[in-house]
Symmetry: C2
Subunit: 230 residues, 2 copies
DNA sequence: CCTTTCTTCACCCCAAGGGGTGAAGAACGT
DNA sequence: ACGTTCTTCACCCCTTGGGGTGAAGAAAGG
């Protein structure tokens, strides 16, 4: 019933690429949209690569990555294959949002959106609209999706800070990358270390290396059924 | 001619195991003794494992490992399969040598020994003697052998300190492990960082992870020709 | 409403790390 | 003998990291 409705409304499924350096994040996104394959087809997930085939929308997930104002989004926006570039973040600072638009992004979506609203927003983007940003109060809580360390009990922010530690960034660098105060970064480091049972950075890095916190590399292409080829 | 002489003198080749956590080190040892296969047969190299088959002599290389006074040598000495335990180190501090003997080691050999003298010393050990330690002045320069980072230009000590950094140890811990002053450790860290082009520990750890400085794991058994089975 | 969790931030204080300088001895090569 | 490299150590000074305490707001659940 629902499938039929969407089929009438859309001539063909929108083609989407997801860009983020952590396969867990990419796979989590894929899982979240599993029910929407008739309207939205994730055809590619890029890990440290730019988009390689024509898509309608590229979703750039900022987890442990440069924000919307950085080089990555600029390059995506300049890539004719990438279609509309959407920054997908839980950092909703208006200044950052504006900077992302100035950097070539077509939309900026909160990671707090439930899947249904996310899909609707992506469709609006595809139609050339600029959907609202909601939720707008407080920091969004991720709905669906996945991140490294989730099974070990890390919160999204703890995971992101640990991922950046595992990339070798110092506290001030992480502060700049995430647009958080260095005090906030230290707080996340403290809670993260307690959670994973380490007491210094060296141990944290080694823990991260062994638990999927190193950026992955590669490109995952999906077939029409949303599966990775054998 | 030489082979015949040794064959008359020794009823069969002495069986030797090498214990160290870095495969490069183990392989370097093997290469150094390649010419002495008729008198000395390296039958096993153990990476983070105790000896698994009966050997006459176990050579414990202290590179980035506990010294002769530590738990590893104690366990080897207690292992009936290990035969005579020989500590093979470039740290010739008399107190440490004594402690190694008290810990169950049968001999303590300098890594500065050329291959020929090393083999002769091992034979003496096998016969029940306790060979002299030479060279006795200064720190021995390694003759033959191999260590991680050698191709990148790291000195043996720089490599050892980096290996311990990559294991997550702090400066004071490394100082204790190596029996060096913490000032010496800092000096090696400085020179090492300059050599590999990093400026902080995080980068050093990641460099180490990517360049073979993480302890390896496994056991390599060699056949009579000194080759690893296919 | 209260509790819990997550997020964000400030401030205090101390430990650990890192860059610099200098010194000395041993070994090796010219 | 001199120069170079490796090793070992000391000391100075500053930066970075980490543990603690406290505060506040938002969201979710009972």
């Amino acid at each position: 019933m629902k499938n039929v409705w969407f089929k009438i409304e859309a001539m063909s499924a929108m083609r989407v690429a997801l860009v983020n350096d952590y396969e867990v994040v990419a796979q989590g996104f894929l899982g979240m949209l599993r029910s929407y394959r008739d309207v939205l087809q994730v055809v590619e997930m890029d890990l440290r690569h730019n988009v390689s085939q024509p898509v309608d929308v590229t979703l750039y997930d900022t987890f442990a990555a440069l924000q919307g104002d950085g080089e990555d989004v600029r390059q995506l926006a300049a890539n004719p294959l990438a279609g509309k570039v959407v920054v997908y973040s839980w950092n909703l600072d208006p200044a950052l949002v504006e900077a992302a638009f100035a950097n070539g992004a077509s939309a900026y979506l909160s990671k707090g959106l439930p899947a249904r609203e996310l899909v609707a927003a992506l469709e609006a983007v595809h139609r050339g609209e600029r959907p609202a940003l909601a939720p707008e109060r407080g920091a969004p809580q991720p709905v669906g999706g996945d991140w490294p360390g989730r099974e070990e009990g890390l919160t999204p922010r703890e995971a992101e800070v640990l991922a950046l530690i595992t990339q070798g960034l110092g506290n001030v660098e992480i502060s700049e990358r995430t647009h958080l105060s260095v005090n906030s970064v230290k707080t996340f480091i403290r809670s993260c270390y307690r959670r994973i049972g380490v007491t210094n950075r060296s141990q944290a890095i080694l823990w991260g290396v062994e638990h999927g916190f190193r950026p992955d590399r590669g490109r995952i292409r999906l077939d029409e059924a949303g599966r990775e080829p054998a």
